[in-house]
């Protein structure tokens, strides 16, 4: 049975990111940096109507613009558009300026429809305009019941009812979606900004009716995905088709404006929660009614509920009497897709807010309420570790009891994520040269998660070398296949694979060289015995070195200015486990990243749509607000190393409980709940009763 070394030299240590120097020097070439020979600039024309029938698209005027080499429609003939920003056509030209002019020249004849809805609460009304013809906007999942929730509430010592809402959140990776595509007689090569090179290759092949072997994706560096960059997307297929039409490579990257419209988002939630407990705090009854939107991807027409509209409830807790009803609501907006821990951050926010509200009603410390009701061993330990580091006992005060105008409050929340369910079909290869140099090639991708470095660390450990002696190549579908980077599964997929490659490599090397142990000091001597032929070794994922899930708890401390409503986060303590820590340095960065994304979700981020025009009002960084360096608090990370569980994943659990912990800290500070994310100064002031009611004229 394979097992990880017990006193590792590199594993669980701090190894610097091996692609760091490339990134800090500007040498790293991202998908948006590719400059293939004779490349053209590509751009997409989008619908300015949220609902319309497109009767014709005239590309001729665009083709006359100097520099334009190709213009295509997404779809020929009449068609419907169902959201503002839906793709209509695309052009390729020698300059960005030519493309901008070309887009303005395209003539679209459309019959806009006044029947559209961009508000999910309105969208679920029975007389709301239908997003999809002949299909209800609402797709309700069948209610789940357990026990008898109606009588159970009567048995409770304390019952709370709350309404907790979370907005549509946009991924907004720093590098937008897009690719460079080069389609020649020899096949199609794509350099896509993707977190799944195979998904791009397969998607392009399918859409363009090519053999898989004719399509290749190369993604050496990409600027973030967070779940939104799987598959080629409409833009990827357009880039390829433009390349074919123009007979030149085409780089088509989306603008920041486009990112808010059509490449995915996290569904919203509107959670009505009724929660009751017995006198000793044991949860006894739970009633949950939630709806949210996944844009046009929700509702009955598309089988609803995709991408995290349906929430796990009561999340990580249990109650003997429950009733859960959920529905997804279609609106005329871009479809949702997976976004870092789909469904968990909103589920956590709703449930953990309810827990704190219940604790307040019971007059109980909310940490105690959790320890009472959360039987998970790992989280129990994490709460205790975190509480001590955080200073919970000294910091926790009754809700609203903080004196002064700027009130301090604390909160906590827990997470669970089925992380690390590795991809069993991961493969890889290593080429060992007679001079001792070694190159690993895996068809996975590094999103900034540290994939390359993980490979180098595991290989160095197994071979007795140093990580900087390992050359790592990823991001090419010509390499042995690996999983897309989603679900926090990459680390658990590649680590056992590299282990296997190394074991086999050592085996073969030892056999060929006659040296019994080819590791470490003997490595170069053993390799020299290869003579003139490098050794290429294939390996794959093997059992016994990785598991799932991961847990985690977070504590937060905030200051709330009760006169201006401004929330300032003072501190977050994040206690996380991911089985065997492979690289501590990059793991911490993942956790920082998850916390900061959760902070944005809690305080700043929401996609805003205009009911009257159906457009997205904040398709930019000015009014879709991301946490800045001055908004980010001190973050203390406690990593619970569990080598006996093997390698798990960390990317997603790290972002699950943050908004909940922050929301609870705000409620603790001001003594009243702001149940709606983002928690803006406006909402804080309203919760404090300071905002005068507005007379509707």
């Amino acid at each position: 049975m394979p097992s990880w070394p017990t006193n590792p030299k590199y594993i669980s240590g701090d190894t610097r990111r091996i692609d760091g120097p490339e990134k800090v020097s500007g040498r790293a070439r991202y998908s948006s940096d590719i400059q293939a020979d004779g490349w053209l600039y590509g751009m997409i024309l989008r619908s300015k109507w949220p609902a319309a029938q497109i009767t014709s698209i005239n590309l001729e005027p665009a083709l006359k613009i100097p520099g334009i080499k190709a213009a295509i429609t997404v779809q020929d003939g009449e068609r419907m558009v169902r959201f503002y920003g839906e793709e209509l056509a695309a052009v390729a030209g020698t300059t960005k300026q030519a493309c901008l002019d070309a887009l303005l020249a395209i003539e679209v004849v459309a019959k806009p429809s006044p029947l559209f809805v961009v508000n999910e609460t309105e969208g679920k009304a029975p007389d709301a305009p239908k997003v999809w013809e002949n299909a209800s906007n609402v797709d309700a999942s069948s209610p789940r019941e357990q026990g008898n929730v109606d009588t159970a509430f009567g048995e409770c010592a304390a019952v709370i009812e709350g309404f907790y809402t979370t907005p549509v959140q946009l991924h907004n990776p720093m590098e937008t979606h897009g690719s460079t595509a080069s389609w020649t007689d020899n096949g199609l090569t794509s350099w896509a900004s993707t977190q799944g090179i195979s998904s791009v290759r397969d998607g392009l092949a399918g859409a363009l009716k090519l053999d898989h072997s004719q399509v290749r994706d190369i993604t050496e560096y990409m600027g973030g995905g967070f779940g939104s960059k799987f598959g080629p997307g409409v833009h990827g297929v357009l880039a390829a088709r433009l390349s074919q039409a123009a007979k030149a490579p085409v780089r088509l990257m989306l603008t920041r404006f486009d990112e808010a419209l059509a490449v995915g988002n996290r569904p919203s939630s509107f959670q009505k929660i009724k929660l009751g407990a017995l006198a000793d705090g044991t949860l006894h009854a739970f009633e949950f009614d939630n709806y949210g939107t996944a844009g046009i991807g929700a509702g009955a027409a598309t089988g609803g509920g995709g991408s995290g509209v349906v929430l796990p409830a009561p999340y990580i807790y249990k109650a003997p009497n429950t009733r859960v009803t959920q529905a997804s609501v279609a609106i005329n907006a871009g479809p949702a897709c997976a976004f870092r821990a789909p469904s968990h951050p909103p589920a956590s926010f709703g449930m953990e807010s309810a827990m704190d509200d219940l604790a307040a009603k019971l007059g109980m410390d909310p940490l105690e309420l959790r320890l009472k009701n959360d039987s998970n061993e790992v989280r129990q330990r994490e709460y205790k570790l975190g509480a001590e580091r955080f200073g919970w006992a000294a910091k926790y005060k009754k809700p609203g009891s903080s004196p002064g105008i700027v009130k301090t409050g604390v909160g906590c929340a827990g997470a669970a994520w089925g992380a690390g369910g590795p991809s069993r079909r991961t493969q890889g290869e290593a080429q060992i040269n007679p001079d001792g140099s070694i190159e690993f090639r895996l068809g996975v991708q590094d999103l900034g998660t540290g994939t390359r470095t993980v490979i180098a660390v595991v290989a160095a450990e197994m071979l007795g070398l140093k990580p900087d002696q390992i050359t790592v190549k990823v991001g090419d579908t010509n390499y042995p296949p690996g999983p897309g980077s989603g679900g926090s599964t990459t680390c658990a997929s590649i680590s056992p694979t590299v282990y296997d490659i190394c074991t086999k490599a050592l085996d073969q090397l030892q056999t060929q060289s006659g040296i019994t142990d080819a590791r470490g000091d003997n490595w170069f001597a053993a390799c020299k015995k290869l003579g003139v032929s490098p050794l290429v070794v294939n390996g794959n994922w093997i059992e016994g070195l990785s598991t799932k899930p991961a847990y985690g708890v977070q504590f937060a401390e905030v200051d709330v200015d009760t006169e201006t409503g401004l929330v300032t986060v003072k501190k977050v303590v994040a206690v996380h486990d991911c089985g065997l820590i492979v690289d501590k340095l990059t793991t911490e960065s993942q956790i920082n990243g998850g916390v900061i994304m959760g902070l944005g979700y809690a305080l700043y981020e929401e996609r805003v749509m205009d009911d009257l025009s159906g457009v997205v009002l904040n398709p930019n960084f000015e009014t879709y607000k991301l946490s800045g360096i001055a908004d980010v608090p001190d973050i203390d990370v406690i990593l619970v190393n569990m080598p006996e569980r093997g390698v798990i994943g960390i990317g997603e659990p790290a972002t699950v409980p943050t908004a909940a912990a922050l929301g609870n800290a705000v409620a603790n500070a001001i003594g009243v709940r702001v149940g709606s994310l983002p928690i803006t100064p406006a909402k804080v002031l309203a919760a404090l009763g300071k905002v005068p009611p507005v007379e509707k004229t």
């Binding site: 120097p21 948006s32 300059t95 990776p173 600027g223 920041r256 960065s589 920082n592 960084f621």
Partner: protein, 218 residues
């Protein structure tokens, strides 16, 4: 500080200018020739150019880039799409994310909101111009050492902002770093380590903003 000097599009000395007038100059009354020359020199400097492409010379990282650009081309566009200098990134094209930060003389600016023609006559420094002979600068090395980067797309912009800060203020406080980097966004969440890296590069005692403890479970 801006100097009130006329911008020179292909500067002429008065002599070459007058020479170019040929017989016209010869026939101009001597008494008026200086004011005419001055007027014509002004007209030359105030010449209307574009909208088609015009010659633009940019001094980037000490080297001259001679390009043909329409006036509406931004400096970022010029770097990324008319030269191979893709280090400065396009994150928003609206002066709101900092991924395109370069230095114009000593000042960090958003290259996406600067016309390329207006960047002439300045020393432009991009991320590619920092490391000398392949050796990373203190700031770049600090970013690598402290893991102040993840996907790396925002990194060139942050490195430029921090580099510019340390040039002006070699001993910054935490607040100084936050102030200098307020205009740079990161989606991966590297901000705490950027703060650490900036202070480390400055040799300022670092009050670690992230503390990690590893607890063995068993």
């Amino acid at each position: 500080m801006k100097k009130p000097e006329p911008e020179k599009f292909g500067a002429h000395s008065r002599r070459t200018f007058l020479k170019s007038l040929g017989t016209v100059a010869a026939t101009a009354a001597t008494a008026q020739v200086e004011s005419v020359a001055a007027e014509l020199e002004q007209a030359n400097a105030e010449k209307v150019i574009g909208p088609n492409a015009v010659p633009v010379t940019l001094k980037v990282n000490g080297k001259f880039l001679k390009l043909m650009l329409e006036p509406r081309v931004t400096l970022l566009d010029a770097l990324r799409n008319y030269s191979s200098l893709t280090g400065a990134k396009e994150g928003c094209d609206r002066a709101s994310c900092g991924a395109c930060t370069v230095m114009l003389d000593d000042l960090p600016i958003y290259s996406c909101q600067k016309l390329a023609i207006e960047a002439q006559g300045h020393e432009i420094t991009t991320i590619e111009g920092l490391a000398q002979n392949g050796k990373l600068t203190n700031v770049q090395q600090a970013f690598v050492d402290k893991d102040a980067l993840m996907c790396g797309y925002c990194t060139p912009g942050f490195v430029m902002s921090v580099t510019a800060l340390l040039k002006k203020n070699p001993s910054p406080t935490t607040d100084d770093v936050k102030h200098a980097c307020a205009g740079n966004l990161c989606r991966c969440g590297t901000q705490p380590r950027i703060l650490e890296a900036a202070l480390a590069a400055a040799g300022v005692a670092v009050n670690r903003t992230t503390k990690t403890e590893v607890i063995d479970y068993a």
